[in-house]
């Protein structure tokens, strides 16, 4: 069963890497914020499944901290860190 958990977490890691690779190729600072959102949901699931597969009891606390940090990071970016001259058109029609 633990091999199955680890296989699932490898697939989750692959989806994160694919998403990150795409996000960093897009223009505009807002796109990199999507990376933080990706860690907030997929990253939390990755930590939970990996913790179950490896038998780590602390994985729940780590996942909780990840979720909190992603939320705080996104709010801080929108309120403070979003430059006004960010690219308006994120993909030319």
């Amino acid at each position: 069963m633990s091999a199955f958990y680890i296989a699932v977490s490898v697939v989750l890691l692959l989806t994160i890497v694919l998403g990150l690779g795409h996000v960093f190729r897009q223009p505009g600072r807002a796109e990199s914020l999507l990376a933080a959102l990706l860690f907030g949901s997929t990253g939390v699931a990755l930590v939970l499944v990996l913790g179950q597969g490896l038998g780590l009891d602390r994985a729940l606390d780590i996942a909780l901290v990840f979720a909190l940090l992603a939320a705080v990071l996104c709010v801080a970016f929108v309120l403070r860190g979003w430059p006004e001259d960010d690219s308006k058109e994120d993909r030319k029609p």
């Binding site: 199955f4 699932v8 989806t15 996000v23 807002a30 999507l34 959102l37 729940l60 994120d90 993909r91």
Partner: protein, 135 residues
């Protein structure tokens, strides 16, 4: 115990489907709004299914409660953050993608009324500082 394991495996497989769907949406959707949508909706369903699968394997009620708490927290956070990002992008005049844009790049175009309907008016946009957007 084996029935529980099978159920856990099925739930995790369903969760993987939703996570992959969310990433495909992130890769393929045309603008910030729709990519935001893919990330905050599909991925949260995937996380919910993962949490359900792990709840079946939990050894104590404390773990079950904590797993549920994680999911509810991520749900609340991503709903808030999705609204904040979407509203701020709209306030700055980032044009939502319509099928009219696709028409100019060779794909099938939509009737004109739809394009007018989707044109950004900034009417429903919450704005506490009126002065910055009126330009």
């Amino acid at each position: 115990m084996t029935a529980l394991n099978v159920l856990t495996g099925l739930l995790l497989a369903a969760a993987l489907f939703f996570f992959i769907a969310g990433t495909v949406g992130l890769l393929r959707f045309p603008d910030l709004y729709s990519r935001l949508h893919a990330l905050t909706k599909a991925d949260n369903v995937g996380l919910g299914l993962t949490v359900l699968a792990l709840m079946l394997q939990a050894e104590s009620w404390t773990e079950v409660f904590k797993l549920g708490l994680i999911w509810v927290m991520v749900l609340a956070a991503s709903a808030t953050v999705c609204f904040l990002i979407g509203n701020e992008a709209y306030r700055r005049g980032l044009t939502p993608w319509t099928t009219l844009h696709a028409g100019s790049s060779g794909r099938e175009s939509a009737p004109l009324e739809l394009g007018k309907l989707l044109e950004p008016t900034h009417a429903g946009c919450y704005d506490e500082t009126k002065g910055r957007t009126s330009a």
